[in-house]
Amino acid sequence: MQLITMAHLGEAQGVINLFDLKRVTPNLFENDTLSCLITGEGPFEAATAVASQLAKKSYERVLNLGIAGALEPVLKLGEIYPVRSIYLVVEGKPQFKSFKSLEKGLDCITSFERILSPDKALALSGVAALVDREVWGVAMAAKSQGVTFESYKLVSDYAGSLGACEIIKEAAEEYSQKLAQFLATQIEHTTNPDEQLNLEGFHLTFSTRIKFLQYLKKLSLREEVSEQQILSNLKLESLRDQKLQPKERTRLLLEEMEDKLDPLKKELEKRLTAWKKPFTSQAIDLITDPNWESPEVKISFQVSSQEELAQKLQVLAGMNLRPYQNLRNGEFHVE
């Protein structure tokens, strides 16, 4: 189900007719796949109306459609533009919070007041190319609910110019039809197919799956080949052939990817283990920062007699921190 928001009934008439929407409440029209909500003008009014509708029903996408004034004289009347970023202006002052609609398109600024003078329009023209009265509120409501949001605007007039209102009135029906036709093209969107990863025999939890996908992407960036190619170069088959639990297999797979991503990891671990070995063999744990940030080494052991304590201390007396410090400081040779 998709939620279409429009400011005025006049603008929405084309959509209502084309999609055969039935009036559910004074401001809501619906069929099986679409709801069209008339929000009224003003960002707060729009935000309240959309938030209230989103609380009542679950929607995949909120799509704001409507008219906007052009702040750039080069824009063509009657043209529909995708909206990229959405700003808000209050008494001439742009507000901090902005929202993203689409990757590409024109920026739109929502104003509480109508932009009637050319000076006001000029000052805002560096912020956005379009000005409207509600989209910021719609975006805020949709984004705060985590619903995908998009906006498209039809240029109805040049903000700050004389006779803007007359132009809109005269062309109202034409614009309404155009918006409806445009919407028809937009709702044919296909959803992205689920990512197909053949990881049979592996057990990926939510977090290991994220890790796996991140590593896959990093390797693809590093080696400048597709993720699919990276996947085919991983030892998936050889891991599947081993008698392992799916969880263990996944751990080894992630380890293989980590080794490829971090050129030092294997070597560091090997040398660190070698440095610790004389102590671990005597049941003395040397605990170092797994991220190598802290130079500290925590020493941990248990004793049950004075003799045992003396023996452990003797082992520790021969401890040299230098090899660990050298590792931390990258002072080793790696091909």
Partner: protein, 333 residues
């Protein structure tokens, strides 16, 4: 290049404003203060590609800031002066992505006030004092518009104890070449191996072009420095830096560097988030990073020290004077 040009009302008739307006060919939009519009809304960084605005303004508040530790060579005070906000280039690691709320450029034109502050700072000190340009904007890229170099050059001429560093990736040296070389007026170039620069330093002159410019400046007697910062890991980074240093050596640049700073790539948490958002397919993301000792996002300690040591060794072998090499923004610097 500019979407709109905004000018503070009080500066509309200023000769520097007029000069900039003539060169941009744009009609100004007047406003009382630049920050009525600039930075008021969160403007996505990449909007600079098609809707970059220019603001001409007066710098108020702090005109000079004490540089953080390990900003320059140790042992002397370092300050940076603020003549502009934001940059025309688009380096994928640039911290400006997460620093201001907008990529729009501000040019501050009250240079006399900045210089007065620099003089005061210098007079209060007994030894040499460094003043760096280019902290918030490339220090040469727009000098053909702004024309302030001469003022800072005069300051150095009158004050041998003051050192000015112009940090740049630009080859826009037209204004600079009109000025005589001075020992305390140093041009420092940020350099990276060509492969990295091409994929990461977007919209900047190529490494070869920067080296050629350095050579030209050296031949004219200018003092030069270089920054290998950020060093970014990729499989052949040692070979690539060796090649860069070889290219520099062939142009007789390595022996003449006043200093060379080395720094491995690092980000504040906010900037890292912006880099992920703006450049999800960047080579920067191909090597794992961690939250480090100062909460910055970096490679792990052995890795960054290993990389820095490797490049330092290469620089020494290429003839960069040992006393001129310093490690930037690292706890061992």
């Amino acid at each position: 290049m500019w979407n709109k040009v905004y000018v503070e009302e009080a500066l509309l008739d200023h000769p520097r404003t007029q000069k900039i307006l003539v060169k941009t060919g744009r009609d100004p939009i007047a406003l009382k203060r630049y920050d009525e519009i600039w930075g008021q809304s969160k403007k996505p960084y990449l909007h600079k590609r098609d809707s970059l605005n220019l603001f001409i303004a007066q710098k108020r508040g702090q005109l000079l800031k004490l540089a953080p530790d390990a900003y320059g060579q140790a042992g002397e005070p370092h300050y940076y002066f603020i003549h502009a906000y934001n940059c025309i280039y688009e380096c994928q690691y640039c911290y400006l992505q997460g620093y201001f709320n907008t990529p729009d450029i501000v040019l501050f034109i009250n240079h006399e006030e900045i210089l007065t502050q620099m003089q005061k700072t210098l007079d209060e000190s007994t030894g040499r004092v460094w003043f760096h340009a280019g902290e918030f904007s490339d220090s040469l890229a727009l000098t053909h518009l702004t024309g302030e170099l001469e003022l800072y050059h005069d300051f150095c001429k009158k004050n041998p104890r003051a050192l000015i560093e112009l940090r740049t990736k630009s080859v826009n040296t037209k204004e600079l070449l009109c000025l005589e070389p001075l020992d305390n007026f140093i041009v420092s170039f940020s350099l990276a191996p060509q492969k990295i620069a091409r994929s990461i330093d977007l919209k900047t002159p190529s490494t070869q072009a920067r080296l050629k410019t350095m050579q030209e400046l050296k031949q004219r007697g200018y003092k030069l420095a270089a920054h290998f910062d950020p060093i970014i890991y990729q499989e052949n980074f040692r070979e690539d830096y060796a090649q860069l240093l070889k290219d520099m050596s062939e142009l007789d640049l390595t022996h003449h560097l006043q200093y060379l700073s080395l720094g491995v790539v690092r980000f504040t948490k906010d900037v890292y988030r912006e880099v992920e958002r703006n450049y999800p397919d960047s080579l920067i993301h191909s090597t794992p990073m961690i939250k480090s000792f100062d909460n910055k996002v970096r490679y792990h300690h052995p890795m960054r020290m290993w990389m820095m040591n490797a490049v330092k060794d290469l620089a020494l072998k290429a003839g960069v004077p040992a006393q001129g090499i310093y490690l930037c923004m690292e706890e061992h610097a």
